[in-house]
């Protein structure tokens, strides 16, 4: 690794600390000792090419991969031995790449389905303010929404729960530029409201507009950590990693 990945924020206790994380899909060893940390109120991205292990890292944090080893400490609690539902109830909310909208439920039901795990979640009015389309489509079945609306619903419904850390897996994938912009505004607004966000992105330009720091992944390893302020100086290096 060409840049340190730990102690990224002057000795503050990290909100999420991942150390030596390994993960497997069946016999296939996918993550090889991932180390990184996210501090409270930060927006941090995981960058990397297809197959680098970004999504698997998120799924491993949530405990939904076949097998995982290492350490994932969230707000001082070791979660590596906990089932996925317990991890979610600690205050980690995951928005998967495929969005996971339940097709047999309508927008309203999808929105109210996730359990409220702590006070402090966004009110429904605020969610409608962030995503006005949802209010208009309240009675529509989940699958009858456009890709952008599904993404808004997938993000909106986890904001109600009171979880303070969001794991967003490629929220801009396949969306029109205007929707990407809306999601970018939402992420900045959530940061202002004090949410901590771990973002997986292939769209580096988008990531640069919202994040404080970036971890670059390659073949199941974290190979670099770049602060947003250093982007210009280290652009060549990043382009080399991402192959852009």
């Amino acid at each position: 690794m060409r840049e340190q990945t730990n102690g990224a924020d002057g000795g503050r206790t990290p909100f999420l600390r991942v150390q030596g994380l390994n993960a497997w899909y069946g016999e296939s060893h996918v993550l090889h000792g991932i180390d990184f940390e996210v501090h409270e109120g930060e927006v941090v991205t995981l960058l990397g090419r297809n197959g680098a292990g970004k999504t698997t890292t998120m799924k491993s944090i949530m405990g939904i991969v076949g097998r995982r080893q290492g350490s994932v400490v969230f707000k001082g609690t070791e979660t590596i031995g906990l089932p996925s539902n317990r991890i979610a109830r600690l205050g980690l909310a995951f928005c998967p790449e495929e969005r996971g909208i339940f097709s047999s439920l309508n927008v309203e039901e999808n929105l109210t389905l996730p359990p409220v795990i702590a006070p402090g979640g966004l009110s429904v009015e605020t969610i409608f303010e962030l995503f006005p389309n949802l209010k208009e489509r309240l009675k529509s079945q989940g699958t009858k929404l456009s890709g952008g609306e599904q993404q808004m619903l997938a993000i909106g419904r986890i904001l109600r729960t009171g979880a303070r850390m969001l794991l967003l897996d490629e929220p801009t994938e396949g969306l029109a530029p205007v929707i990407v912009q809306q999601i970018g505004n939402t992420i900045r607004r959530l940061k202002q409201e004090g949410f901590t966000i771990l973002l997986v992105e292939q769209n580096f330009r988008f990531a640069a507009t919202v994040a404080d720091r970036h971890y670059v992944m390659e073949d199941g390893h974290v190979v670099a950590m770049v602060r947003n302020a250093e982007l210009d100086q280290r652009m060549d290096e990043i382009h080399e990693y991402l192959g852009v």
């Binding site: 949530m62 405990g63 939904i64 089932p83 996925s84 539902n85 991890i87 979610a88 109830r89 995951f94 998967p96 996971g100 339940f102 097709s103 047999s104 439920l105 309203e108 039901e109 929105l111 109210t112 389905l113 996730p114 359990p115 795990i117 009110s123 429904v124 009015e125 409608f128 303010e129 006005p132 209010k135 309240l138 986890i158 109600r160 729960t161």
Partner: protein
Amino acid sequence: MATVTAGEIRAATHEGLPRQQVVAFVIMVGALVAAPFFFYPVFLMKVLCFALFACAFNLLIGYVGLLSFGHAAYFGMGSYVAAHAAKVWGLPTELAILAGTAVAGVLGVVFGWLAIKRQGIYFAMITLALAQMVFFFSLQAPFTGGEDGIQSVPRGHLFGVIDLRSDLAMYFFVLAIFLMGFLFIYRVIHSPFGQVLKAIRENEARATSLGYRPDHYKLTAFVLSATLAGLAGATKAIVFQLASLTDVHWSMSGEVVLMTLVGGLGTVFGPVVGALTIVTMQNYLASFGAWVTVIQGVIFIVCVMAFRRGVIGEIANVLKKPL
């Protein structure tokens, strides 16, 4: 912009029932109230008992996606215990039915706890194996009467007042039980609990990562389904004054699958229509003897090949509204 609170949204989920479902319910209740004046009440009571059984089964397969192939165990044990309680212990009818229902519920807790650890075909096989154990228990246990079953079960008096030996009185008692069971299931599947069940059926991993424990929800649904199947069996034992091995036989588990599929899996009214269809066939085609089974088989194949959604499922698809 008008503000909408989470409470209002949640309330909105439960208020304003879909109009087509209200209309269908009113038609169903009207038809069931009028029916005993035109058709043989005992036949209608059989339909109602099996309709409740199929609705209970549908709660599990239609809304949680779990195919139990051993629901005869709960129906049959409900039937045996109610019959025994009414005849040997001399319990009042309503308490005998409650006893049968409770035993089926307890059996559901034990069998469900074992079965939900596996999914798909393994789940179905475990439920079948457990039901077969109940069958052989029923064959050997002294209180079931072996091959004779428990016969001449007294119908008794409802609350010590209404003489249930009258078919018409018994019919309206059975109708009340059926409607309570039906409305209870309707409430369950439209509650937040029911929404979580549907979410688990659709994407268990996602429901888990949102913070739910699918096994708890599945077990609760399993126990509710077993309990209601027991209620159906217990009521049937009082209606026919008989509990027999037929009630716990594996073919009974198959019949309830058939009823649910013919009526429409995962629909509210489908199991009722399915039960009506199959029981009517069994009664009115009885003169064909063993051929009834063949005809049932043909109907099953036609249903699966031609209209997989079942009768009500196809109608709902045409109307583009849930039924």
